[in-house]
């Protein structure tokens, strides 16, 4: 088995055994360190030993009994949900318009709208802080939603544009030649066919907002602190083991979102 050629240039599996070992190690490096947090979060010790000498739900109790952590979680989920709605709506409209138009300026518009992905987040955060200060949007749910939306728009656009590649826009023309208006044709012909891409984009927008740290660090103070902001500050000052419990819950949530996105992908 190992002596069978593995490539078109007749390299055998044995000869490239090192490649399999290396890739195994890289995958181990990508996956295992994060997952180790899960058993550690059930440890009874402050030092989160592994394997835990005694198991307990101590850190989960600490999380669920803390009004600060719970409030931060509520803020994060509210912002993520609102961001998902706004970014999906504006991003899908933009992706559709720019895909369907043949105007030459559409290329520049695409580049402009993907800028938030390229500009370092710290700069976006400073700029947003400056813009929000005079209008009092710092430390508000609405302000966080707007800030996270600009981060999510490029991702929604990329996902939806990718979905549009498999869709024949002429179908819309057929609908319109039979009397449908453009918006109606979009809603009844196009949208159902790019639905999965739009939903994938929405999931991405949600998770981007939920995970965002830097902008929240600069603009979300007081009782509008997000979960990630509180986690960051707690980690910088001292390692609070409660974070292990929160991390485990967040990992479970990520796995759920990843699974949903994979289901959507496979349906495309």
């Amino acid at each position: 088995m190992l002596n069978r050629p593995a490539t078109d240039t007749q390299v055998t599996h044995l000869q490239r055994l090192w490649l399999y070992v290396l890739c195994g190690l890289v995958i181990f490096f990508l996956i295992v360190p994060t997952l180790l947090v899960i058993p550690m979060s059930f440890s009874d010790s402050r030092y989160l030993d592994f394997p835990p000498e005694s198991w307990s739900l101590r850190w989960y109790r600490a999380y669920f009994n803390s009004p600060e952590w719970l409030q931060a979680t509520a803020v994060s989920f509210q912002v993520a949900f609102l961001t998902m709605l706004l970014a999906t709506a504006t991003g899908t409209l933009a992706a559709y318009g720019l895909h369907a138009t043949r105007a030459r300026s559409s290329r520049y518009m695409t580049v402009l709208l993907t800028l938030p992905m390229i500009i370092p987040v710290i700069l976006l955060a400073v700029g947003i802080f400056l813009t929000f200060a005079p209008v009092g949007l710092n430390s508000t749910i609405g302000g966080l939603m707007l800030a996270h939306t600009i981060l999510a728009i490029p991702l929604v656009m990329i996902t939806v544009t990718a979905g549009m590649q498999n869709f024949d826009i002429n179908q819309e023309m057929v609908a319109r030649s039979m009397g449908a208006s453009r918006p109606w044709a979009f809603l009844t012909v196009t949208l159902p066919q790019i639905r999965n891409s739009v939903m994938s984009g929405a999931l991405l927008a949600f998770i981007i907002s939920l995970d965002e740290v830097v902008i929240a660090l600069l603009i979300a103070g007081g009782d509008k602190a997000t979960l990630t902001r509180r986690m960051f500050l707690a980690l910088r000052d001292e390692i609070d083991p409660t974070i292990a419990a929160i991390s485990t819950l967040l990992i479970a949530f990520s796995v759920l979102m990843l699974t949903l996105s994979q289901i959507l992908q496979s349906r495309k």
């Binding site: 240039t9 490649l19 994060t34 504006t90 700069l123 976006l124 400056l130 600009i150 740290v213 796995v255």
Partner: protein
Amino acid sequence: MTAADHQPDAPMNERALDRQARAEQRNLMALSLPAFILVGSLVLLPMGWLFWMSIYGADGFTAENYTRLLHPSYKKTLITTFELAFLVTGLCILLGYPLAYLASQLKPRMASLVLLCVLFPFWTSLLVRTYAWLVLLQRRGLINNWLMEWGLIDTPLKLVHNFTGTTIGMVHIMLPFFVLPLYASMKTVDYDLMKAASNLGASPVRAFWQIYVPLTLSGLGAGVILVFVLSLGFYVTPALLGGGRVMMWAMQIERSMAVYADWGAASALGVVLLVMTLGILWAFARLTGAIGATEGK
């Protein structure tokens, strides 16, 4: 109706159709307006404002904010930032290229499993992953405990709150960004070219370096630039795993703003980071554009 009857109307009809078509293009472009207003008011305008603040102080125009950046401490930050970005990019190539290479040759089922392993960190919170490394690498952490138990070391290694820990954490964060575009470009490689090279007497190693690597250069370039640019402006992981000993450019910006409330310094630092980032991306776009053009000939 004959053709002659129809003739006089034609130019007018065409013009009307033309007008209608243009109006339609305009309407379609207008659909991107809500997104543009958001990005314009929260990204483009503030960047302009930042630039203005960096050159216009209390006593009019000034270059002071930039001349201050010549101070040795900023130079040290700049060097650290580039060192980390280069090191992380290099390690991503060493670890990511083989992984993408193997994944692109696996059967679909296995390949999607490997890709899932690459996507999992992508969807997991950045803070959670950084936290995991903090716990594993700390003095009394898992790695030090195991190394001591096995008798490999006597005293705990300093693995975190320094450059080493920051590098490990950053590679972990950046690897998916590197592997995914590379994998996409490797999937398009025509393996008959490798067979042809083999038939013509090239050794597998030579065929790999002379045929395969050049064919995947565009994906490799995209991954390298993405990782490098993201690393240059990165904040969270160095701030937590560096423990204050690794001062990155982005941390300098946050510090001058949050600690010193020095908007002149913060804006000048910001403009420098923006120019570096956009400059590298622009150079890369020009370079690949040039390669694309010669390939087309």
